[in-house]
């Protein structure tokens, strides 16, 4: 009996091994054939299901398109846009990012009266899934709610939407007009303010209580608050997303098929979608993963059609390619940097000296770090405007590094300002405020020692900081790197004055996944304006403020270039390599995948291709 069972087991294992080998050698496609690698092209096959991996520990947890602070993660807004068509959105068109496209409800906005009025025309062919047309009233409904409860809206900052709109007017069923509180740069206003607008199904949602009468309750502040509170209460019941009738009225190309408590979301085609981006696929499953390791294990076993790998695994790229996947780093619309604390009680005077910041920037080998530490998946940050992808916001002057890696240049800058190398450490030997002296607040024999709070949990970041430490030491700068969890770094790097306790931090890094993701227009008012909310290092420069002001309020595209070129040279922060949003691994027979730099996804353009399809 025993001897008879063993060969059978061996046969089963041998067959399984042979099958596994065959799958590996054949390239593993949905139909079992070999598919040439290409992101687009091929003969589309209607139908099919794609499983996409969500970022590690990301669980979609908010469906209501007015997200409260803390619920505005990209995966939440990306999913919302599948159900609720955005009015304007970041659409990649060639090398440019533009606010309108086939998937947006709004058409090109028209500015008038010295850029103090904007008229927004809407497409007239879009309907809600209950058959009602999407109209200007639906945007008014959204506007009334955010105006009544702006503190509960994640995108609100004082002075911006809805504060900057003096009057909201419904011109006709498919046109709205906004009277602004002053003249704005149309590009900035469209890109960073109008993209916040949403059309919400007023005819289905405008009730103050569950089961209450639908009306125009949003047109009074109290009514809008009551409606908003009711919708928010529904949104706080994550377990009901898949069944709550409220979330079934949609105008986007997709609707919810299943939304599990674990964060797994399955969307299916909206059969009543009237727009032009009709999906090819039947379903898309957005799968949450507890950690990047578990995603990697499942990815290697073929359990995900569109996933990601750690940059360190890029060296084994060919193994995935042999298995029928293509590798494509997803470059984010972001910049990465180390924050300098200009008010540091420990090294504030050093941070305030431009020549020291220039010397340090010369010691950042961005290309080396990008190529070696990040295996080519990161791109250098050259200033406040992302250098990749190259867009209309990047001037030719911003496309090259004003402070290339040059140890000699860094040493020369320090030497020219009174710093001498003693035993490998730079010390100030010419204190004073003269042009060739160390600068105000720097004492004789003061060493150039700095402390950096850096985000832990990433091998790449740890290695990058070690490269930086080594590099700075070549000019005699001692850097102590203290690694902490992300929220500790954020909690310890708060804007402070020298009188505040805890203002002894010198530098801070929280850019393992990119330090700052921009909306469409990369204006830096939140980062580099004096006293701005995310200006953690207290950078203050009247000229920078003036240039940022011009980006927001002047009708001149050159304003962005002037601002970008100035801050690239002024170094309000230390520019660092910008890691990819993720290093994507995509099945070869899955095409039409455009990796939007703003990290949103549009599965309506994805499709499978036929067995044996070529490009």
């Amino acid at each position: 009996m025993r001897s008879g069972r063993t060969p059978a087991r061996i046969r089963v294992i041998a067959a399984a091994l042979a099958a596994a080998l065959a799958v590996v050698l054949s390239g593993c496609t949905r139909q079992g054939g070999t598919i040439h690698m290409a992101p687009t092209g091929g003969t589309p096959v209607e139908g099919g299901t794609v499983t996409m991996a969500l970022p590690p520990a990301a669980t979609p947890n908010w469906i209501f398109p007015i997200g409260p602070p803390g619920y505005s993660a990209t995966y939440n807004s990306s999913l919302q846009e599948l159900f609720f068509m955005p009015v304007y959105d970041a659409v990649q068109q060639g090398t440019d990012l533009v606010p309108t496209g086939a998937g947006t409800l709004g058409e090109k906005p028209v500015y008038s009266e010295g850029d103090t009025t904007v008229t927004v025309p809407l497409r007239d062919d879009i309907h809600w899934s209950d058959g009602t047309p999407v109209t200007a009233r639906d945007i008014e409904f959204w506007f009334n709610m955010v105006r009544a409860d702006k503190a509960e809206w994640a995108s609100y900052t004082v002075g911006t939407m809805p504060d900057d709109v003096k009057k909201f007017q419904v011109v006709d069923a498919h046109t709205i007009r906004l009277t602004l509180d002053r003249a704005y740069n149309p590009d900035w206003f469209t890109a960073n303010q109008l993209t916040l607008m949403r059309a919400l199904p007023q005819q289905a949602w405008d009730a103050r209580t569950d089961g209450g009468k639908i009306g125009d309750w949003d047109r009074t502040t109290a009514g809008a608050r009551a409606v908003f509170a009711r919708l928010t209460a529904h949104a706080k019941n994550l377990g009901s997303y898949g069944t709550d009738p409220l979330w079934k009225t949609v105008d986007g190309p997709w609707r919810i098929a299943q939304w599990e408590d674990t964060g797994q979301v399955t969307v299916e085609r909206n059969p009543r979608y009237t727009g032009s981006q009709r999906p090819h696929l039947d379903k898309v499953v957005f799968k949450p993963f507890t950690t990047a390791d578990s995603e990697y294990n499942v990815m290697r076993s073929g359990g995900v059609d569109y996933g990601y790998i750690p940059p360190s695994v890029l060296a084994q790229k060919s193994r995935f390619e042999q298995r029928g996947y293509r590798i494509s780093p997803w470059t984010g619309w972001a910049v990465s940097y180390i924050v300098y604390n200009f008010n540091s009680t420990h090294a504030g005077p050093e941070m305030r000296r431009l020549y020291i910041r220039q010397a340090m920037q010369h010691l950042v080998d961005q290309k080396g770090m990008s190529d070696v530490v990040w295996q080519g998946s990161a791109k250098p940050t050259l200033g406040p405007v992302p250098a990749f992808p190259k867009t209309q916001y990047l001037s030719p002057g911003m496309a090259h590094n004003p402070y290339p890696y040059d140890v000699d240049a860094a040493r020369a800058l320090l030497a020219a300002h009174g710093w001498t190398q003693r035993g490998g450490h730079a010390v100030c030997t010419r204190p004073g405020t003269g042009a060739d002296e160390c600068g105000a607040g720097i004492a004789r024999d003061a060493p150039l020692t700095l402390t950096l709070l850096s985000q832990s949990g990433s091998t790449e970041t740890t290695n990058m900081m070690q490269v930086l430490k080594s590099s700075l030491s070549r000019a005699g700068i001692d850097l102590t790197v203290r690694q902490q969890p992300l929220n500790s770094v954020l909690g310890n790097s708060v804007a402070c004055t020298a009188k505040d306790p805890g203002c002894d931090w010198d530098m801070s890094f929280f850019g393992t996944a990119g330090s700052w993701y921009y909306p469409l227009n990369p204006s830096g008012e939140e980062l580099f304006s004096t006293g701005a909310s995310a200006n953690f290092g207290n950078y203050a420069d009247p000229k920078a403020d003036k240039l940022i002001h011009a980006v927001l309020y002047s009708d001149n595209q050159d304003a962005m270039h002037a601002y970008g070129e100035y801050l690239a040279r002024q170094l309000p922060v230390m520019w660092m390599p910008n890691p990819a949003y993720q290093v994507s691994v995509i099945r070869n027979d899955l095409r039409g995948v455009q990796q939007n730099p703003t990290a949103t996804f549009s599965p309506q353009s994805w499709y499978y291709v036929k067995k044996g399809a070529s490009q």
Partner: protein, 316 residues
Amino acid sequence: MTGFLVKRLLQALVVLFLVTIIVFLLLHSLPGGPARAILGPKGTPQQIAHFNDVQGYDNPLPVQYGDYLVRLFHGDLGQSYKLNEPVSSLLGQRLPKTLILTVLSTAVAVVVAVPLGLLQAVRRGKPADYALTALAFLAYATPVFFLGLIFIIVFSQAVPIFPAEAPQGTSIGSVFSGFSGMVLPIVTMAFGIIAMFSRYMRSATLDNLTEEYVRTATAKGQSSRRILVRHVLRNALIPLVTLLGLYLPTLFSGALVVESMFNYPGMGLLFWNAAQGSDFPVLLGVTLVVGVATVVGSLVTDIAYALLDPRIRSVS
């Protein structure tokens, strides 16, 4: 016995109360606070102030603790701001999943480790004992993540017999309906426990084999098998039972590495992610559950001892 029980219950309540105070203080001493962790670098000062106001974090600590206790007595463990779900609902989803994993892997470990330990003791100093000892040391010394990775590479990729991830549904039914996905996590977790338990079992059996009652039984003419199964096994199991009692909190707190590796959202990962994101309500909720498990485990052990041994009752 009633007095003993009342006294132990009161002690347990005091311990739990102290646990909540210590955890509460430790959480609030973390730098940064939850607002920045939740809102991220884009959170404005106004949003941070609003968040702290809504959550009550701008109140003095004693007031916050008092509010927490009041809510606790009303059965409200709070709402996770990271996961947008009530903590009680999260615990309701994760705890059963964790228990399935930990209880099954412990059961597998006991079923395998007890005979192994007995066999090693009986064959002491012989090749089988040496071989099993070497294997036990190897299993004990192998990090769980490494073992899991090997299992995934072999059984999910090279010979795809089992999935590389555990079942993903929220219900218990979904775990059992996709049970093939549980095989690798259970085996990975059981491996280290088998190594530990078998060593305890071997040692306890060896101790008992030298006891006089074994000699007496042998002198009475009982067979070796009967002595081993009816007398030695029962006595040798006592240290293992104590070990299992001490293991109870681990069963509830989950297995972070295994959960993380096999994408199985249980208690371990819930706690880890909450700690990363300063999700205070979840951290307090999980700590409370594990604290209760620890105290209950200890209480049950004490009661069992008291029932078995009248001397403990009288001393108490």
